[in-house]
Amino acid sequence: MFEAAADGLMGLLDPFTLGLMVIGILIGLVVGLLPGLGGITAMVLMLPFTFDMTPIQAFSFLLGMFVVSSNAGELTSILFGVPGEGTTAATILDGHPMAKKGQAGRAMGASLASSAVGAVLGAITLAIALPIVRPLVLSFGAPELFALTILGVTFIASLSGGSLTRSILMGGMGFALATVGSSPQTGIYRFTFGAPYLLEGVQLVPVALGLFAIPEIIDLAVRRTSIAQADLGKVGGVMQGVKDAFTHRWLVVRSASLSAFIGLIPGLGSAAAQWMSYAHAVQSSPRKEEFGTGRVEGVLAPGASANAKEGGALIPTVAFGVPGSLAMAILLGAFQIVGLVPGPRMLTTHLDVTFSMVWILVIANFISIGFLALLLPQLVRLTKVKGLILVPIILAMVWLGAFSNQSNFGDLVLLAVAGAMGYAMVALDWPRPPLILGLVLGSLADKNLGIAYQRYHYDFFTDPTVVVILLIAAASLVYALVQNKRIARAKAGLAEMDKRTGGRGGHA
């Protein structure tokens, strides 16, 4: 195994291969920094260039591109409140409020530092898991996956921001929206109202962009100021952010491991990973009530998750040919182009190629963080640019990002509807994350419950693994309920304090 690891690294250190990786990184950097557009778009466009490459060259080119665009996407989430990848909006919740407070530099420093740690941990998880990955993955059938989605649902309670009733209603709405489209069991179309666009179901990317980006853009336009409302200080405190990552090192480590595990289970999908990391950060913090107003932990956890989950998601892709995320689906296309077949051979005969991917994740991350660190001072200054200059540009990018989902005008309609909803939800103080998590987990629960019932009827509820996971879910729910009461009390206390001091400060 060590030999394969060394071979993988040697294959990568060839100057031509490294050169391709750097080119991939530069392309990904630009596309990733454009709000709303992500690495997926870049990867699809560049896929045909891999026709004449060897497998390791192709993967270093494409993975390098993806790694940097996911790092850059975190930065656009912080700067503009626009999710970089469409599916990774968790960073916005606390990152963007930090930018508004003039702490964009600190938030970006924290994000990059935690994502570096996340990439390394994701890669280590991947390397350790390689020998046992097939038996491990095969032990997760539809019943276990269903139980895991239920566990994920209980995280909704932690994302409530205080009001559990509203949170549950929004989660339920996400579940309801997830049932639109063809039924996985019968192929019968549900709730499509004769609209061909809805046959494929409600798409995550336009919904996430609409819910999170549109309200921020409207807010920026209405305020007629720059994004940052406070002074920046010395380059916005990038080093402070890096220090934060070390102060909260265990949170970073736990978020990265959790995300690598979620990415590893085929079919669970890494879209849920970032939200679960964020929810975990909330759960484990003694000052839960301050999340959403610009806590640095709320940036660290999703940052650590960003690349760790892709490390995990590589496993089902190489070992089974089941892509764990959109990016991995494109990578699977590259597999076919270079003539590799995902499967057990990737863990034996082609182990060096698999290991080279682990190395690519690590090396590309450090190169891309280097590039981004150079750009940080310029990026921080963007938060002082007049909102009226930024708004049209960001808005155009967001529409583009939504359209690039399926190249369907329906994407634009959905973006507008979700945007209006998002604005209303912010104005009326309804939580948005449970809706997204419900949409992501709803279709997984639908599919796996259907399979489990057809195969085992209700007997699967007696399976020991299922029982254990459901017990953990119940415990997590009870814990969240208790904590929620505490947050509500604390919020009431803060409001009381605000009234007395007559200001909004006091809880930075």
């Binding site: 031509f16 050169g19 996985p184 019968t186 046959l199 089974f320 076919q336 583009l400 369907n408 399979i451």
Partner: protein, 382 residues
């Protein structure tokens, strides 16, 4: 060749980076303007490099058709990364040098609703020969059952040819002890057969159960081949009925052991076995046990598979255009470079010319209302 690619990509990256850097006053507008030439109009459209095209014998074109300097769009009805996309991209790289004037072909993915959205689009595309389509085979059954959103008639497309021939088979875990169709009928416990809801595979399993009395219970909801194969490997289901060629192609390790992990039990082919499974009984052998309606349903379901990976022009293109494409297509699938590319992509080639495809899809498939109703019923039953 490598260095040329290197330079093209390098210039592209540096150009993009240059526009993104600079002072903060210009950074955003410049960066925002950059991609408008590429991903904006067609976000998933992809241009192929000239490198892919190597000098090769050119077909003699009909005089009136010339594509010199033109760009042709090849529509693929599924997302990037799948089998249709992979074959589409190989064709986009190789077809141009067989067409008069050596045009450029770009792939445009138009996924959605199991191919319906893209096929609707192709059906109404301008028939000037600059838009061609990789025709999704399953769409035939989709149209027959009157699925929502269908606004095309597959029998009106102009077919230029097909690249593969697919044979469906039911295969089960060898350790489950099912080796013949009789074992399936006699099995005391249900045989769990995995698959995706709404696909034609569901109809075939349903026919085995209803017409021949096989003790099948379908477990549906898996998303495609890899997903179902994990379930077979973990023992969640016993097997599956689908296109056989994808099984050894996507799971070579299953066949490295003796005995192999799965055994094909029955193949759905008429008039002789598939050469990949010479010893497996064909459904023909059991024809006399089928009801007339059941047999007609079977024929309607498997007929389109004889022309797998079919390419077509939108209805209305003129005869000389169709003739030029048919000639180029046939010349392509006989070209050693193309044959090698398909081999590399692990896609067994079985080239068929336009006339053959037209005969099967347009002339042979005639379906009564009774058969349609039967297909709809079988898709909903388990």
């Amino acid at each position: 060749m490598k260095y040329r690619m290197f330079v093209i990509l390098g210039t592209l990256a540096l150009g993009l980076l240059a526009t993104a850097c600079g002072s903060d006053a210009t950074a955003v507008p410049a960066a925002a303007a950059t991609p408008t030439t590429g991903p904006v109009s067609t976000p998933t459209a992809t241009a192929l490099t000239e490198e892919a095209a190597v000098a090769a014998p050119t077909a003699t074109p009909p005089a009136s058709v010339d594509f010199a300097g033109k760009t042709i769009t090849l529509l693929v009805m599924y997302s990037p990364g799948g089998g249709y996309d992979a074959v589409g991209r190989v064709v986009a790289a190789h077809l141009p040098r067989h067409l008069p004037g050596k045009p450029r072909i770009i792939v445009q993915n138009r996924p959605g609703a199991g191919g319906v959205i893209g096929t609707n689009y192709a059906y109404t595309a301008k028939p000037d020969g600059l838009t061609i389509a990789e025709f999704p085979t399953d769409i035939v059954v989709t149209q027959l059952v009157g699925a929502p959103g269908v606004a095309f008639d597959f029998q009106k497309f102009l077919y230029m040819g097909a690249l593969q021939k697919a044979t469906k088979a039911c295969y089960y875990r060898t350790d489950r002890g099912i080796k013949t169709l009789q074992d399936m009928i006699d099995s005391p416990s249900p045989i769990f057969t995995g698959g995706s809801g709404g696909s034609s595979d569901v109809v075939l399993s349903g026919l085995l159960k209803e017409e021949l009395g096989a003790n099948i219970t379908q477990v549906l909801g898996y998303q495609g081949t890899a997903d179902t194969h994990i379930a077979i490997e973990s023992g969640e289901v016993d097997g599956r009925c689908t296109t056989w060629s994808t099984v050894p192609a996507s799971n070579p390790s299953w066949f490295e052991t003796t005995p192999a992990l799965v055994t094909p039990v029955i193949q759905f082919t008429i008039g002789g076995a598939d050469k990949a499974m010479p010893d497996v009984p064909t459904i023909d052998d059991f024809k006399d046990q089928f009801s007339d309606k059941g047999w007609q349903t079977l024929l309607a379901t498997i007929a389109p598979l004889q022309t797998y990976r079919t390419f077509a022009l939108p209805p209305g293109a003129d005869d000389s255009m169709l003739a030029a494409y048919r000639e180029a297509f046939e010349s392509m699938y006989n070209d050693p470079l193309f044959i090698a590319a398909m081999e590399r992509a692990n896609r067994p080639l079985h080239g068929q010319n336009g006339a053959t495809v037209e005969n099967i899809l347009v002339n042979e498939i005639k379906v009564s209302q009774e058969v349609r109703d039967n297909i709809i019923r079988l898709l909903a039953a388990k």
